[in-house]
């Protein structure tokens, strides 16, 4: 069974640009979660999508947004990039809310 996949592996952008990160959940999982793992700050919850709807949101500004497609894959968009957005972005999927399976992450570097 394929795990959670994320693309791209690495992404380099300049300040002010937009970044788009993608996630494909495990087959049969309907929920997708996004986390930001910045150096020294642990994992910060960003967004939770389930059945195509945004269910919960962490304490991030509106320039962090996303969506979930009918096939349950998901996209995270970060607008007006700032240097402090540089981090590893992790996607997780689940069938039950409390059991999440993580992808390998997308390393976003903002210069």
């Amino acid at each position: 069974e394929a795990g959670v996949t994320q693309s791209p592996t690495h992404l380099i952008k300049t300040r002010g640009q937009q970044a788009t990160l993608r996630c494909s959940p495990i087959s049969g999982h309907t929920s997708v979660y996004w986390y930001q793992q910045a150096l020294g700050l642990g994992l910060q919850f960003l967004l939770w999508y389930d059945e195509g709807e945004e269910r919960n949101r962490g304490n991030f500004p509106p320039r962090f947004s996303g969506r979930q497609f009918p096939n349950y894959s998901s996209e995270l968009n970060v607008n007006a990039l700032e240097l402090e957005d540089s981090a590893l972005y992790l996607c997780a999927s689940s069938l039950r809310e409390y059991e999440q399976y993580f992808g390998p992450g997308t390393r976003l570097t903002v210069t």
């Binding site: 700050l41 994992l43 919850f45 939770w48 919960n56 997780a92 409390y98 999440q100 992450g105």
Partner: protein, 115 residues
Amino acid sequence: AQSVTQLDSQVPVFEEAPVELRCNYSSSVSVYLFWYVQYPNQGLQLLLKYLSGSTLVESINGFEAEFNKSQTSFHLRKPSVHISDTAEYFCAVSEYPSGGFKTIFGAGTRLFVKA
């Protein structure tokens, strides 16, 4: 959960020695508890979880954790560590307020096993 605190940012230990990674949380509602492990340049893997029932839970690779409700703790232990256990370990808490689950992670503890 209001917060999850992992009391040690780094834990160096010799191979075959016992180890305990500490985790405390604060929450006013019922919670589920998890430990995840992250090897270098990889995502997180679920190590073990407490949902209900026995307060002592075990993983397949020898780790165990005990839920202590009165002390709001979920410490991770292993009686004898291996070099391959070197990784970062995250404690996580999922609480269920109205509006759905939200998982909060601790800052992580880096376990470094020395030969």
